[in-house]
C-alpha cells in the first residue's frame, strides 16, 4: 500500500521517476528517505546538490498527514509500483512510475489496448479517421488509450465512447486537473465511466516537459500505437519512438505527401511502421475481430455511380481537405446555383460536408 511518505517523495519538485527509483533502491522505502540524515543523501546515486537541497527543504515543510488526506478529498486514488493491481504493462519500463495516481478506474489487464495519438491542430480527415478507427476498435472490445489533448486525442476518446467501448487518458499534470480546460466534458465522462491516469501528484499543473514522459506511459499501457496525423518533429512521433523502444507495433495513417500533417506519419511508414489502409485490415493485424468496421476505404463506390451527373462532377472535384467555392467553380465549370445545389445533394447523402461557410470537403 502506498503511504504518506510515498506521496511526499512523488511530490518533491525536480525529482523524476529515475531519481525516485534510485532513492528507493538505495533507501528501501520512501519513509527511510524521509528520515535519512542530510549527509547520507549524498550516497544516493543520481542526486545532485540541488536535488538534495530540495529534498531537505520539502521534508521541512511537507505536512504528511494533511497531504495524504487531501488525496481522498480530491477523489484521487493511488497505487504503488509492486502493489497488486498496478498495471503490469508499466513494469517493463525501467522508469515506471513509483506511484500511479488516477481518477475513475484503471484499464483491465486482460483486455487488449491500443494507443491513438496525433496532432492537436489536425485536419478534418484526421479527426474523422481517428473517430472511426477508435469506434471500430472500441466496438471490437479494444481499449483506446490517449492523452485527452484536442484534435486527434479528443476524437479518439470520443470515437471509442461512441463505439461503446472503454477509453483511458494519461495526463501531463495531476489527474485532478482537467487539461486542456476546453476538454471539461470529455474529462468528466472519462472520470465517471473510465479513468484518467497520471504519474504526477494531484495539484501538479501541466508543464511542457511533462508531456514526453506522459507519452511513454501512453505507449507502455498499450499493445500497439496508432499515429493518426503528425507534422515533422511532433510530440506524437515521440510516442512512436517510445513504442519502438518498448517493442510495440506502430501503425501510421498514410496521407498525401503534400499534406504537412501527414509528413510525420508517412515518415513513420518509411521507417517501418505499418500503414493503416483500412479499418478491417487494422483489426485483422491487431488480431481482433471487428463487429462493425465503419466505412473507411472505398466502400461507398457503388453509391457514387448512382449519383446525378453534376453531383458526381462536384464529388470528384472535392477533396478530403476543405475547398472553397471559388475553386470548385473553376474546377467544375458549373453555374453558382448548380454547384450549390449539387453540394447540397452531396451533403444530404453524407458524401460531403461544409466545415466552415463556403469551405467544403468530401467524406469517404
Amino acid at each position: 500500500m502506498a503511504n504518506p511518505y510515498d506521496l511526499w517523495l512523488a511530490s518533491v519538485p525536480g525529482i523524476g521517476q529515475r531519481k525516485i527509483a534510485s532513492i528507493i533502491s538505495a533507501c528501501g522505502t520512501a519513509r527511510e528517505c524521509f528520515y535519512l540524515k542530510e549527509e547520507a543523501l549524498r550516497y544516493i546515486p543520481l542526486l545532485r546538490e540541488d536535488d538534495m537541497q530540495r529534498i531537505v527543504e520539502s521534508r521541512r515543510t511537507w505536512d504528511l498527514e494533511r497531504q495524504w488526506e487531501a488525496l481522498a478529498k480530491r477523489n484521487v486514488s493511488v497505487i504503488r509500483k509492486g502493489e497488486a493491481g498496478y498495471p503490469s504493462r508499466l513494469l517493463s519500463l525501467f522508469d515506471a512510475p513509483h506511484l500511479l495516481f488516477f481518477r475513475g478506474k484503471l484499464p483491465a489487464e486482460e483486455q487488449r489496448a491500443v494507443a491513438m495519438v496525433g496532432a492537436r491542430e489536425c485536419t478534418e480527415y484526421g479527426r474523422d479517421m481517428a473517430k472511426r478507427i477508435a469506434g471500430a476498435l472500441a466496438a471490437a472490445g479494444v481499449i483506446v488509450i490517449s492523452g485527452m489533448a484536442r484534435g486527434i486525442d479528443a476524437a479518439s476518446h470520443a470515437g471509442a465512447i461512441a463505439g461503446g467501448g472503454e477509453t483511458y487518458a494519461l495526463l501531463g499534470c495531476g489527474p485532478d486537473i482537467c487539461y486542456p480546460r476546453s476538454g471539461r466534458q470529455l474529462y468528466e465522462t472519462l472520470v465517471s465511466r473510465f479513468g484518467v491516469l497520471s504519474e504526477f501528484a494531484p495539484g501538479t499543473p501541466p508543464e511542457k516537459g511533462f508531456f514526453p514522459a506522459r507519452n511513454r506511459l501512453i505507449s507502455a499501457l498499450s499493445d500497439a500505437v496508432l499515429v493518426i496525423e503528425a507534422r515533422a518533429r511532433s510530440g506524437s512521433l515521440i510516442t512512436a519512438d517510445f513504442a519502438l523502444e518498448q517493442g510495440k507495433d506502430v501503425y501510421a495513417l498514410p496521407g498525401r505527401i503534400t499534406d504537412a500533417l501527414s509528413y510525420g506519419t508517412n515518415q513513420l511508414i518509411r521507417q517501418g511502421a505499418y500503414p493503416i489502409v483500412s479499418v478491417e485490415e487494422l483489426l485483422t493485424d491487431l488480431k481482433v475481430k471487428g463487429v462493425h468496421a465503419g466505412n473507411a476505404g472505398n466502400t461507398k463506390e457503388p453509391c457514387l455511380r448512382a449519383l446525378p451527373a453534376t453531383e458526381r462532377t462536384v464529388y470528384e472535384a472535392l477533396e478530403i481537405l476543405p475547398k472553397g467555392l471559388e475553386e470548385l467553380l473553376e474546377k467544375t465549370d458549373l453555374s453558382i446555383p448548380a454547384l450549390s445545389a449539387a453540394l447540397d445533394g452531396l451533403i444530404k447523402k453524407h458524401l460531403a460536408e461544409e466545415g466552415f461557410p463556403g469551405a467544403y470537403r468530401r467524406l469517404y
Binding site: 500533417l261 450549390s340 461557410p357
Partner: protein, 512 residues
C-alpha cells in the same frame, strides 16, 4: 459708422447666413470681436489687423467693434477673415456700403493680405443661391468649386486689395482659365479582374440590393481590388445625391479641383488606425468623418479585425439612421452617412483556416482572433464570400471579364424593380427589408420552401442567418427578373450566407 457684410458659416453640411457688423467710433483705441466665436474666429482680429496694415490700410485710432450675428450660433472656421476686413474698411469709409448689397463674402486672409481658400465653399454658394443672392466673393483658389453650381455670379479675389478694387468699381474679373472639361480619371473596372466568379457575382448582388458585404480570405486575394470597383457597378448618383456628396466633400476640403459635380459614388477605405473622430467626424473645426465621406457610396474596411471596437461602434447608429449625430457642448449637428458597408478579413491569423494543412493556428489563436471580430458589424453583413488566394499576376491578367458597365445595367434594373415593389414603404432596398415583412415580399414556391427547410437544418442556420438568405435570394430573383423565389435563387443565396462566430468552432458543434 456701422457697416454690414453678409457671409456664411458651415453648419453640418449646410451654409448658414451670418451677418458681420463693424462699428468704428470715437473712444479708447481698441479692436474687439463679439458674437459667440470659436477661438479661430477670435484670432481673426490679429490676422485681419495685420493683413489690413500690410495691404496699405492703417487701422484708425478708434474703437472698433465687430459683431457676428445671429449671436446664438457658434461660429467657427477661418472664412470670416475677409468679411471682417471688408466690414471694417466699409465702416471707415473705404468701401461704400451699397457695394455689399446682394453680396456674400467668404475667405481667409493671411498676414500679407492675400485671400486664402477655405473648406465648405459649395454649401455656402448653394445657400446664397437659394437665398437669391446675386454674387459671392470667394477666394480665387475656390473659384472652380464656387462655379460648380451656376446661378450666381462668382467673384474670385486674390487679396484684400483685389476685393476693395472690385467693390469700388475698379476691377475686372479675369476670365476663367480654359480648363478643357477635365475628364474624370477612368474608374477601375471589373473587367480587369480575372476569374473570381463568385466574388464578382457577390459584388453584383450586394450592389443590386444594397447589401453589406463581407469578404473572407487570405491577404492579397484581391479583396480591396474588388471593393474599389464597387462604385463602378452602382447606379450613378442623381442630382440630389451629387449635391449631398459634393457638399460633404467641400466641407471636408476635398472638392478643390473638381470641375463638375461627380456622378461617381464615393469609395472610402479608412485605415484600421483611423481614430474615432476620423471615422465619425467632429473636431474643433467640425469636419465630416469617413462614414460621411462615404455617403451615397461604399465604405470599405479592410482588415476588419484590426479596427478597434470603439471605432466600429460608431457605425452602428448610422447604419440604422443613415446619418450621424455629433453631440457637442454647444449643441449637436448631423452629417449624412448612408453607405454600403464592405469589409474584408482573414479567417484566422495566418489566413488559411479551415485548411488545417496550411493553417497552424491553435485553438487559442483562433479564439483570440475571433475575439476581435465585431459582432454588431458581422450581424449586418447580409453576404459573406470566401475568397481564393491567387497570385496578383493571375488576378489582373489579360483575359477580359465582364465590364462594369454591363454589370451596372443589371444592378440598375434590379434596383428599379425594388423601387417599384417598395413604393409606399419606408425603405427602398431588399437589404432594409424588415424581418416582419419578409413573408410578404419574399414569396417562395413550394419546391423552394421545402429546399429552404432542409437547408435550415442541414446548414445549422440561426434565425438571423435564415433571414439573410431570404433577403439575398430576393435580390438574386430581382437580378433575373423573377417574381417568386425558386430553388435556384435559394441555392445561390446559400453560397453567400453570412457567417457567425460559431462557424469557427466546429469542435464544439456536435463533434467529439
Amino acid at each position: 459708422m456701422v457697416s454690414e457684410v453678409q457671409s456664411a458659416a458651415i453648419y453640418g453640411i449646410d451654409g448658414l447666413p451670418i451677418r458681420v457688423e463693424a462699428d468704428v467710433s470715437e473712444g479708447m483705441p481698441m479692436f474687439q470681436m463679439v458674437g459667440y466665436l470659436s477661438s479661430e474666429v477670435r484670432e481673426a482680429r490679429e490676422r485681419v489687423s495685420t493683413a489690413l496694415r500690410n495691404s496699405g490700410f492703417a487701422l484708425p485710432v478708434k474703437r472698433i467693434t465687430v459683431n457676428l450675428y445671429p449671436a446664438d450660433i457658434r461660429k467657427s472656421g477661418t472664412g470670416f477673415d475677409l468679411p471682417v476686413a471688408l466690414a471694417i474698411l466699409s465702416a471707415t469709409g473705404v468701401i461704400p456700403p451699397d457695394a455689399f448689397w446682394d453680396t456674400f463674402v467668404i475667405g481667409e486672409v493671411n498676414l500679407q493680405g492675400n485671400v486664402c481658400p477655405i473648406p465648405g465653399v459649395l454649401p455656402i454658394v448653394a445657400k446664397a443661391a437659394e437665398l437669391q443672392i446675386k454674387r459671392i466673393l470667394v477666394p480665387a483658389q475656390n473659384r472652380v468649386e464656387a462655379e460648380l453650381l451656376g446661378g450666381i455670379e462668382v467673384i474670385p479675389v486674390e487679396s484684400i486689395n483685389g476685393a476693395v478694387d472690385y467693390l469700388t468699381g475698379d476691377y475686372e474679373i479675369p476670365p476663367r482659365e480654359a480648363q478643357g472639361e477635365a475628364k474624370e480619371a477612368s474608374a477601375p473596372d471589373f473587367a480587369e479582374i480575372k476569374g473570381q466568379k463568385l466574388l464578382k457575382r457577390a459584388c453584383e448582388i450586394a450592389c443590386a440590393g444594397m447589401h453589406n458585404l463581407l469578404m473572407i480570405g487570405p491577404p492579397g486575394a484581391g479583396k480591396s481590388m474588388a471593393a474599389k470597383r464597387l462604385p463602378s457597378i452602382l447606379p450613378e448618383m442623381d442630382r440630389k445625391e451629387q449635391m449631398e456628396t459634393s457638399k460633404i466633400q467641400s466641407v471636408a476640403g476635398l472638392l478643390t479641383g473638381a470641375t463638375a459635380l461627380s456622378k461617381r459614388r464615393p469609395f472610402r477605405s479608412p485605415n484600421h488606425t483611423a481614430t474615432l473622430q476620423g471615422m465619425a467626424g467632429g473636431g474643433t473645426i467640425p469636419r465630416p468623418g469617413e462614414i460621411s465621406l462615404a455617403h451615397n457610396g461604399v465604405l470599405f474596411l479592410d482588415e476588419l479585425t484590426e479596427f478597434s471596437p470603439q471605432v466600429l461602434e460608431v457605425l452602428r447608429q448610422p447604419m440604422e439612421d443613415h446619418e450621424i449625430t455629433i453631440a457637442r457642448a454647444n449643441g449637436s449637428y448631423r452629417y449624412p452617412a448612408k453607405f454600403m458597408l464592405v469589409a474584408a478579413m482573414n479567417p484566422c491569423q495566418c489566413g488559411y483556416y479551415p485548411d488545417r494543412n496550411k493553417c497552424r493556428c491553435t485553438r487559442r489563436q483562433l479564439d483570440r482572433f475571433l475575439g476581435k471580430i465585431s459582432e454588431p458589424v458581422i450581424d449586418r453583413m447580409d453576404l459573406a464570400v470566401g475568397i481564393k488566394a491567387v497570385a496578383f499576376e493571375e488576378l489582373s491578367g489579360e483575359s477580359k471579364g465582364e465590364s462594369s458597365a454591363a454589370i451596372r445595367r443589371r444592378v440598375e434594373e434590379a434596383q428599379s424593380i425594388q423601387r417599384a415593389r417598395y413604393r409606399g414603404e419606408a425603405f427602398r432596398f431588399n437589404s432594409a427589408l424588415p424581418a416582419g415583412l419578409i413573408k410578404q415580399y419574399v414569396p417562395l414556391d413550394a419546391a423552394a420552401r421545402d429546399y429552404l427547410e432542409e437547408v435550415f437544418f442541414r446548414r445549422n442556420l440561426t434565425a438571423r442567418g435564415y433571414h439573410k438568405i431570404l433577403k439575398v435570394a430576393r435580390t438574386i430573383a430581382d437580378l433575373s427578373g423573377k417574381d417568386r423565389i425558386d430553388e435556384t435563387c435559394l441555392a445561390e443565396a446559400v453560397c453567400y450566407r453570412g457567417v457567425e462566430k460559431r462557424d469557427w468552432e466546429p469542435e464544439e458543434r456536435n463533434r467529439d
